[in-house]
């Protein structure tokens, strides 16, 4: 493809990327890491978690790197003092929204939220934790959802709709009451549309959806969406 390219600066490094590329991709392709949670290569971008917020010189507001396309001459800052502070706040809020206890979580050591907390130096939360007690749905043969650990990134919903193509999963309610549901808020075993494809468990960044009896190292393969999408497009 002979697509047009754009020149811009990310953290003072001059980069050149195809037109329409997102800031996130432009940065990653040039070895600049921006933390993300809801974004996943191969799925449409959501822009919800706000971890990938970056500064653009001359703009009064912050932009999510995952959804904002680059433009010529743009000067992006990905790692200012303020951004680091805001990312810590975001992680603290997610950690204190529901019951996140790493030591007893199935995803311990394989959790993106946990690893980001560690990486960003979130050594405690200024917010009082909200200890939730939502029913765990283990009715399915091997898929389990523990909504106490869900961070509402909607990766599972998007992979179910965009890659598997059944849209079993969606969100119910809104705001802090929002939950991931199957069909008409059924127990998983009663979902008429679920194909038990396991993709939701594979893309879940935390321990909210997992596979009973399977080692977590095998389940948490978040490249699955990109892999399948690439295969499909090649076809």
């Amino acid at each position: 493809m002979s697509a047009l390219t754009v020149k811009l600066k990310i953290d003072n490094i001059e980069v050149e990327v195809p037109e329409g590329t997102t800031i996130l991709k432009a940065a990653r392709d040039n070895g600049i890491e921006i933390p993300t949670l809801c974004s996943l290569e191969g799925l449409t971008n959501y822009g919800g978690c706000r971890l990938c917020l970056v500064e653009v010189k001359g703009a009064p507001k912050l932009f999510p790197a995952c959804t904002t396309p680059v433009s010529a001459g743009m000067e992006v800052i990905t790692n200012s003092e303020q951004l680091r502070e805001y990312r810590k706040m975001t992680i603290q809020l997610l950690l204190s929204e529901r019951t996140h206890v790493c030591s007893v979580c199935v995803a311990n050591d394989h959790c993106e939220l946990q690893s980001l907390a560690n990486k960003l130096g979130v050594d405690h939360s200024i917010f009082e934790r909200n200890w939730t007690r939502k029913e765990i749905d283990s009715s399915h043969d091997f898929l389990v959802i523990d909504r106490n650990r869900c961070i509402l990134c909607t990766r599972c919903i998007r992979v179910c709709d965009e890659i598997e193509g059944v849209h079993t999963l969606d969100l119910k309610q809104r705001g802090r009451k929002a939950e991931v549901i199957m069909d008409l808020d059924e127990d998983w075993v009663n979902s008429c549309s679920c194909t038990s494809c396991r993709k939701c468990a594979k893309v879940c960044p935390v321990g909210a959806i997992y596979i009973e009896g399977e080692p977590i190292t095998r389940t948490k393969n978040k490249d699955v969406a990109e892999f399948i999408l690439t295969r499909r497009q090649r076809k």
Partner: protein
């Protein structure tokens, strides 16, 4: 170095599994260096009965779950220069705080422990410290200066934090803290 010149360190074990203390002891040969610079003046590792005055550093493991722990924590805060939350229970509440998800959890826990699951003598004891309605991490009760998360925190991180503090530097937890 005489005992007077050594940094006075205390450790406290609140609601936790003692794993953090184990990890503290697990510093291998590094603890020998540390031992030259510090004197442990209070804690499960030593015999002192009352929390002493003029403590330089206090490491506290565990969450605050009952009245006795709450008052000990407050006392320690008042008598310590630098107070450190050691481990996930102290930093987040962790497993001991899981009961917070229930309303009236103190009562439920006691009933579960002393009545439902007891074989004989089913009664809730009265001579032990009363449980708090909510189990809290330390910093929700007193001001905490440094946090070392982990379940348990690794010996090397504990050593890093203490070494930095002894050298008069501020530890940087970015990339070092580790929940779970």
């Amino acid at each position: 170095m005489s005992a007077q010149e050594k940094t006075r360190v205390a450790t406290i074990w609140l609601s936790g599994c003692s794993g953090c203390h184990m990890s503290f002891l697990d510093q291998d040969e590094l603890i020998l260096d540390l031992a030259k610079k510090i004197q442990v003046v209070y804690g499960p590792l030593v015999d002192t009965k009352a929390f002493p005055e003029n403590v330089d550093v206090t490491l506290i493991e565990g969450a605050v779950a009952n009245e006795e722990q709450q008052s000990l924590l407050k006392e320690a805060r008042a008598k310590t220069k630098i107070l450190i939350s050691l481990g996930d229970c102290a930093v987040t509440g962790n497993v001991p705080a899981l009961r917070n998800a229930w309303e009236d959890s103190a009562k439920l826990v006691l009933e579960r422990g002393y009545i439902e699951n007891a074989d004989v003598n089913k009664q809730i004891p009265t001579e032990v410290p009363g449980l708090l309605e909510k189990v809290r991490p330390l910093h929700e009760v007193v001001k905490v200066d440094y946090f070392i998360p982990g379940c348990p925190p690794s010996a090397s991180v504990i050593n890093y934090v203490l070494t930095e503090l002894l050298a008069g530097r501020t530890p940087n937890m970015e990339g070092r803290s580790k929940y779970g």
